[in-house]
C-alpha cells in the first residue's frame, strides 16, 4: 500500500534512458499536485509539464507547490498557459501584461524554463501581424530576466493565427532570442497543416513539442475542434493518427529538433481513472515512440563501433 495512493499498490517503473525527453502533462491526471508528481515519477518519467492551476490550486499555497515540484526531482518541461495575449491594446493589453507577469512568476517559482502561450482567440485582438509580433517581443523581454523562454503555439481555433506556419511567421517577425515556437500535433492534424511545412522551421527555435492522438479522423468545425481538443485526446499510439504522429516525430528529428516531447492529453475518461493507470498508458506511449518510431533502443552502428574501439 502507498500513502500517496491509498488503497492501491504503487508500481514504480525503471527510468529508461531513451525516454528521457518524453514527459507527461498534469492536465491528463486527476487529483492533487503531489499525487500527480508521484504518479509521473513512478511511471519512470523524468519531466512534467505543469499548469498554473496545479500551483494556484495547491492546498498549502504557491511556495509549498514550488517546493513539492522541486522535491519531486522531476524537471519542469514547461508551464501553461497564457491565452489571448497578443494583439490587444489599451487597458486590455495592460490587463494581459499583469496576467503574463503572474504566470511568469509562478513559472519561475517552480523552476520552469518555458512558458507556453497560445495564439489569441479574442475578437478584441487585432489581426495586424506586426502588432502581434511586438506584443510577443515584449512578453519575451518580460520573461528574459527570469531565464524563461516563451513558446508560441498556433491554436487550431485561433482567430488569426491557427497553424504553426503562421505562428512561425509571427515568431520570426518578433525576432527575440527567447521567443520560439510551441508545436502541438493536435492542432496540426485538426487544421490539416501539411507536415512538409515542418522542413521550413529552425529546430533551435522550437521550444516545445506537444503530442496527442485522438479518436476520429476529422474535426470539421471549430466547435468540434475545441471539444475534441479539450475532452477526447489520447496518448500517441492510442488513436487513429498514429502513423501521422510517427511521421511528425521523425520529421522533427530529421530537421534537427532535440528538445522535449510532452504528452498534451486532455481526456475526460483519464480524469476518472487511477493515476498510475493513466501514467502507465503514457509510459507505453513513450516506449512506442522511442523504440518503434525513433528506434532508440537499438544501438546505432556507430555506437557499437565506438564501444569496440574503447574496449
Amino acid at each position: 500500500m502507498s500513502a500517496r495512493n491509498p488503497g492501491m499498490a504503487t508500481v514504480v517503473n525503471a527510468t529508461l534512458p531513451y525516454i528521457l525527453d518524453f514527459g507527461m502533462d498534469t492536465i491528463s491526471l486527476a487529483g492533487t499536485l503531489p499525487a500527480k508528481l508521484a504518479a509521473v515519477r513512478d511511471a519512470g518519467f523524468s519531466q512534467i509539464m505543469l499548469s498554473a492551476r496545479d500551483v494556484v490550486g495547491h492546498s498549502d499555497g504557491i511556495d509549498s507547490a514550488a517546493h513539492a515540484v522541486r522535491a519531486s526531482g522531476l524537471r519542469v518541461t514547461g508551464f501553461q498557459v497564457l491565452r489571448d495575449f497578443e494583439g490587444l491594446s489599451g487597458h486590455l493589453h495592460e490587463y494581459k501584461v499583469d496576467v503574463a507577469k503572474s504566470m511568469l512568476e509562478m513559472c519561475h517559482a517552480v523552476g520552469g524554463k518555458v512558458l507556453l502561450v497560445c495564439s489569441s482567440t479574442s475578437t478584441h485582438a487585432t489581426d495586424d501581424a506586426d502588432a502581434m509580433a511586438r506584443d510577443l517581443r515584449k512578453l519575451a523581454m518580460l520573461a528574459l530576466p527570469l531565464g524563461i523562454k516563451v513558446a508560441y503555439e498556433g491554436l487550431s481555433w485561433g482567430r488569426t493565427i491557427n497553424e504553426f506556419t503562421t505562428a512561425w511567421d509571427i515568431v520570426r517577425r518578433a525576432n527575440a532570442t527567447n521567443l520560439g515556437l510551441g508545436v502541438d500535433s493536435y492542432h496540426i492534424f485538426a487544421a490539416k497543416t501539411g507536415l512538409d511545412e515542418l522542413d521550413f522551421l529552425d529546430p533551435d527555435k522550437i521550444f516545445l513539442v506537444q503530442l496527442a492522438d485522438f479518436m476520429w479522423q476529422e474535426v470539421r468545425t471549430l466547435e468540434e475542434r475545441i471539444a475534441t481538443a479539450r475532452h477526447f485526446r489520447v496518448f500517441p499510439g492510442e488513436g487513429v493518427h498514429s502513423s501521422a504522429l510517427a511521421d511528425l516525430v521523425l520529421r522533427l528529428e530529421r530537421i534537427g529538433y532535440r528538445g522535449d516531447y510532452s504528452f498534451e492529453v486532455f481526456n475526460d475518461d483519464y480524469q476518472q481513472m487511477p493515476l498510475p493507470t493513466v501514467a502507465a498508458r503514457a509510459r507505453q506511449s513513450a516506449i512506442w515512440l522511442a523504440e518503434d518510431v525513433l528506434r532508440r533502443a537499438v544501438p546505432l552502428p556507430s555506437q557499437m563501433r565506438l564501444q569496440r574501439t574503447g574496449a
Binding site: K101, L139, M141, L142, P145, G147, N178
Partner: protein, 299 residues
C-alpha cells in the same frame, strides 16, 4: 539648439543621436550596495578613496562619494518581493542611470517589457522610478543631476563634510561586471540593447586584465557592462546571475594601485591576474566585494 525646438525640427544627425541613445543616457548616477554591515562596507569604500557624505532622512542608507562617483550603502530591509535583503556579504543591489527625462525613460523601458519596481517613498521624498535588473537588482532612472541632485532632497549632509571631494588619482566609473548563466549571452545582450540602447563592442576591443565575456558600451559612451558567462564545462542548473563587481577607470593604473596600497587596499597578484598598466583587481573584502581598475584616460 533652442529648447522649444520639437522633434519635427531635428536634423537627420540629431535624429540618429536620438535613435542610438533613446533614453538620452548620460552615465551612472550611483551604484547601490545592500548590506546588513554598512559600517564595514563603509570602511572598505573609504580605503578605496570614497568619503562618507550624507545619511538618508528616513532609512539606514548612507551616501559615499569621490569625484563624480556616488555610492549608496543601503542597510534598510524593505521586505519587497524580488528585492535584495541586506545580508552580511554586501551585494550590488542597483545601478542608477542618468537620463534626460526619468519618466520618459521609465515609460520607454516598460513599454518594451521591463518589470516595474513598486516605489516605497515616505512623505516629501523623491519617487525615483526603477525597473528590475539582473537577479534581485534594480535599475533606477535619474534626471536630476545637473542643477540640483536627488541627495539634496532625501539626504542630510554629515556635519562639516566637503560634499564634493576630488577623486583619488582620477578614478571614475568604468563599468559593471555582470555574471550570467550558461547560454544567456545573447538574451542579456538583447535586454540591454532593447531597453537602453547599449551597443556590443567587437570581441577584439578589450579593456583591463580580465578580458572575458562580452562588453557592451553605454549609448552615451561613458561606461561599459561586461557580461561574463560560466566557464565552459561547468554546468550549473541554477546559476546565480548578478552584478558581481564595479570597474573603476584611471589614467594611470600603477599609480592608482600604489596610492590604494598606501591606504591599505590589497591586490590580487597571481600568475594569471596581477596589477599591470592595463588594469588590476583588488582583493575580495567582506566575503565578496572587489573592485577592478581599468586603464582609461578619461578622468
Amino acid at each position: 539648439m533652442a529648447k522649444e525646438q520639437d522633434m519635427t525640427q531635428l536634423s537627420d544627425r540629431e535624429l540618429t543621436a536620438v535613435a542610438s541613445n533613446p533614453l538620452a543616457m548620460d552615465g551612472i548616477e550611483f551604484i547601490e550596495y545592500s548590506t546588513s554591515k554598512p559600517q564595514a562596507l563603509g570602511q572598505v569604500l573609504e580605503m578605496m578613496g570614497f568619503h562618507p557624505i550624507a545619511r538618508h532622512r528616513s532609512r539606514e542608507v548612507l551616501l559615499y562619494r569621490q569625484g563624480d562617483m556616488n555610492v549608496i550603502v543601503n542597510a534598510h530591509a524593505g521586505g519587497q518581493p524580488r528585492a535584495v535583503e541586506p545580508a552580511e556579504i554586501p551585494v550590488i543591489a542597483a545601478m542608477a542611470l542618468r537620463v534626460r527625462d526619468a519618466a520618459a525613460a521609465y515609460r520607454y523601458a516598460i513599454d518594451r517589457g521591463a518589470w516595474i519596481v513598486p516605489s516605497q517613498v515616505e512623505v516629501m521624498e523623491l519617487n525615483i522610478p526603477a525597473i528590475h535588473g539582473v537577479g534581485a537588482s534594480r535599475i533606477y532612472f535619474v534626471d536630476r543631476y545637473r542643477e540640483f541632485s536627488i541627495y539634496d532632497v532625501d539626504f542630510t549632509l554629515n556635519p562639516g563634510v566637503d560634499a564634493h571631494p576630488p577623486a583619488l588619482t582620477g578614478l571614475h566609473w568604468f563599468g559593471i561586471v555582470q555574471y550570467i548563466g550558461s547560454d544567456r549571452l545573447v538574451e542579456w545582450t538583447e535586454f540591454y540593447t532593447e531597453l537602453f540602447g547599449f551597443n556590443v563592442l567587437p570581441d577584439e576591443q578589450r579593456y583591463g586584465i580580465l578580458p572575458k565575456g562580452r562588453i557592451l558600451e553605454s549609448p552615451c559612451r561613458s561606461f561599459y557592462l561586461q557580461l561574463i558567462d560560466p566557464k565552459p564545462g561547468i554546468f550549473d542548473p541554477e546559476p546565480v546571475e548578478l552584478f558581481q563587481r564595479v570597474g573603476l577607470g584611471t589614467p594611470d593604473v600603477l599609480n592608482t594601485v600604489a596610492a590604494l596600497r598606501q591606504r591599505g587596499v590589497g591586490f590580487v597578484e597571481s600568475q594569471g591576474v596581477h596589477s599591470e598598466a592595463r588594469g588590476a583587481l583588488t582583493q575580495s573584502y567582506l566575503g565578496g566585494v572587489m573592485f577592478e581598475l581599468v586603464h582609461d584616460e578619461r578622468s
